[in-house]
């Protein structure tokens, strides 16, 4: 556990003006595109409601749908594995990979594999994982963490990327320029070799259909198709909440996801496969169903809808806090508003207890979410859990914040005490007041006066004025 919090990490990003420019450019661009392509559908709102209701009703009978999915996948020639936590999922993937006597795997962008920290586990077992999404590859080569769900290398500029490629792509990186087209070409050639020679691929899944056993991956670059088509063995890892009951449900989500995510009417490539097909694609297919804390979220009736998320990242792109604090401030592969609710629930509040506070509760995320997750409501709910856990310790009970909240709540329940405290406040503020405002306040309120004056208490409260007026009548 580190002492760093969202606040301290954000402070670092706030001073990085290049990063802030990059993020601002990215979020502004995507915001414009998503707004246009969602507005052009007359039934966008109906699709959002349908998406939410499908997710809601699916979760209400999640056990049933997972069993149906298992049956369908098995019938179609695949094998289903159940993983309670990250360690079990890692163990399954490493074991399956080793059984094929290979020392490398190719990977499609997958937040779930980041979540379970699969790459270090593979490396530890002598298997080299190659990320094949361009940005993920850049992040991997730089031994960094992603800073945006969809544009993970948004913090890196072209010169830094060229240097990484020159350093790590062998002959494909020699004499490379820093033009994005050249960099992309080099990645194509470098990865084509990997696609053709690697026998095992690992993917996530955007959706899986219980009634047919079909699994869906949406993408832009084509690296997904390569991984899903060329290797002998495909291992897909999906969170249990990704299951959809019916084939027909896809018609809703294949409209919601691309428009909300990248602002396209449809992403360039969508692949849907069902088990294995002789003569086309992998001969062996494994589907790993991952819990890793999801059933705990499911048990909480307020935050359950966290599991509706389809990982579009639209909430990041509209979030004024994300735009300024940057993705690394969330210290997780899930960033922005959705990260602020997902990460503390997956990692625990001891580790990520600062994240529920990383929001001004402006509601922009809830307003645009394609499946209408009430993120501010869940943030507040999680703050409640942070407070609850702190109150269990003596030190927490004596914390300045808890004391202040207790005092305030007593005052609000006691008219006389409130009036007395206002009187005391007027007296006490005299030392701090200049020209009707207080330019400095002691901690913990010093954060306020960092950039803002605080108004001095006026001589008469509204209720005093009202009383005086009533008495004068």
């Amino acid at each position: 556990m580190s002492n760093a919090t969202f606040t301290s990490r954000a402070a670092k990003s706030l001073r990085n003006s290049q990063l802030r420019r990059n993020i601002n450019k990215a979020t502004t661009t995507i915001r414009g595109k998503t707004a246009r392509v969602t507005a052009e559908l007359p039934d966008w709102e109906a699709l959002r409601l349908a998406g939410r209701e499908i997710k809601r009703s699916t979760l209400a009978e999640l056990d049933k749908h997972l069993i149906a999915l298992e049956e369908s996948v098995t019938r179609a020639g695949g094998t289903v594995h159940w993983a309670r936590d990250a360690a079990e999922a890692r163990e399954i993937v490493v074991r399956l990979t080793k059984a094929h006597n290979t020392d490398q795997v190719i990977k499609i962008k997958s937040m779930t594999t980041d979540e379970i920290e699969l790459n270090p586990a593979l490396e530890g077992a002598g298997i080299r994982p190659y990320e094949t999404d361009l940005a993920d590859m850049i992040v991997q080569m730089g031994r960094e963490k992603p800073s945006h769900l969809l544009v993970p290398a948004i913090h890196k500029n072209r010169v830094e990327i060229r240097d990484l490629f020159r350093d790590q792509m062998g002959s494909h990186g020699e004499g490379l320029s820093d033009r994005p087209t050249d960099l992309t070409k080099a990645a194509r050639a470098y990865l084509r070799d990997k696609f053709l020679e690697t026998r095992v691929a690992i993917s996530g899944a955007n959706f899986a259909v219980a009634e047919t056993g079909s699994v869906v991956v949406v993408e832009s670059e084509g690296n997904g198709r390569m991984c899903l088509t060329l290797p002998d063995v495909l291992i897909s890892i999906m969170g249990i909440e990704k299951v959809l009951p019916r084939w027909q449900d896809l018609e809703v989500f294949l409209q919601l996801l691309p428009r909300a995510a990248t602002g396209e009417r449809m992403n360039p490539y969508t692949s849907i496969w069902t088990g294995t097909v002789p003569g086309d694609g992998p001969r062996e297919f494994h589907l790993v169903l991952l819990d890793n804390g999801r059933s705990k979220i499911l048990a909480d009736e307020v935050s359950r809808e966290t599991l509706h998320c389809i990982r579009c990242s639209r909430c990041l792109n509209v979030c004024p806090v994300y735009e300024r604090a940057g993705g690394h401030a969330y210290d997780s592969m899930y960033q922005g508003p959705i990260g602020a609710i997902v990460t503390p629930q997956l990692k625990g509040l001891e580790e990520a207890g600062s994240l529920p506070y990383a929001s001004s509760l402006c509601g922009a995320c809830h307003e645009v979410c394609p499946v209408k997750i009430n993120i501010p409501q869940i943030l507040v709910h999680l703050r409640g859990k942070v407070v609850e856990s702190k109150r269990e310790t003596a030190l927490g009970k004596l914390s300045g914040e808890n004391m202040a909240m207790q005092v305030a709540s007593r005052l609000f329940n006691n008219q006389q005490a409130l009036e007395w405290s206002l009187w005391a406040g007027r007296l006490g503020q005299k030392l701090l007041t200049r020209d009707g405002v207080m330019p400095w306040l002691p901690p913990p309120l010093s954060g306020w006066t960092l950039s803002r004056d605080f108004p001095a208490l006026p001589e008469q409260s509204f209720r005093d004025w009202w009383k005086q007026r009533e008495n004068g009548k």
């Binding site: 039934d43 009978e61 940005a135 390569m226 018609e251 692949s271 496969w273």
Partner: protein
Amino acid sequence: MSSRDIMLATIRHAISRPAPDGLPAVPPPGDLPAYRRRLDATGPEIVDRFLERLRDYNVHVEVLDSEAAVIAAATARLAALGLDRLVIPADLPAAWRPAGVTLVEDQALDHQTLNAIPGALTGAALAIAETGSIVLDGGRHQGRRALTLLPDYHLCVVFAGQLVGLVPEAMDQLGRHPARPITFFSGPSATADIELDRVVGVHGPRTLDVLFVTGPTQPREF
């Protein structure tokens, strides 16, 4: 207990919690507004929308008034691009096979061989006007997925009769054979991962050309 049993038991426990005493259940949503399951437009309007979307994606599209025009159009296009070798699915109709180029039928070619062929010529399962998508499902005239993945060029023949308006219409049709491997193409592959500069053509075919046949419809087969 196996992990499977433990997970299922945990899930069942999580979803079975009744509402606290006396509290009314959260009301179920009222009648949901229905989203569109069919595009309300005439045939020509649907075609226009599809062509407009393809052009948006910078896809080179030629509109042909009959299937008989396919060979000439394909031959001219390939000559213009300087392509002399194409891989084709074994069941590609003779009426689509262009002249003057070497056509390699895919008889279980290995990946290295496919990778060395510069282009592919196939049909499609269907296309979606609203999104400008062409969908392949490995059915008639389409070949397996690797065929339209490894070559750098893809020439695709699409018939107006295969065009639907909206995604739900497409899913209805594809749902007749959901076990087939399905690929939606909507414009060329692209990335904006480097400084958000959009670069078109990452993996897979960097060029997609479409021959769109409006005339007598090829019989639909799913």
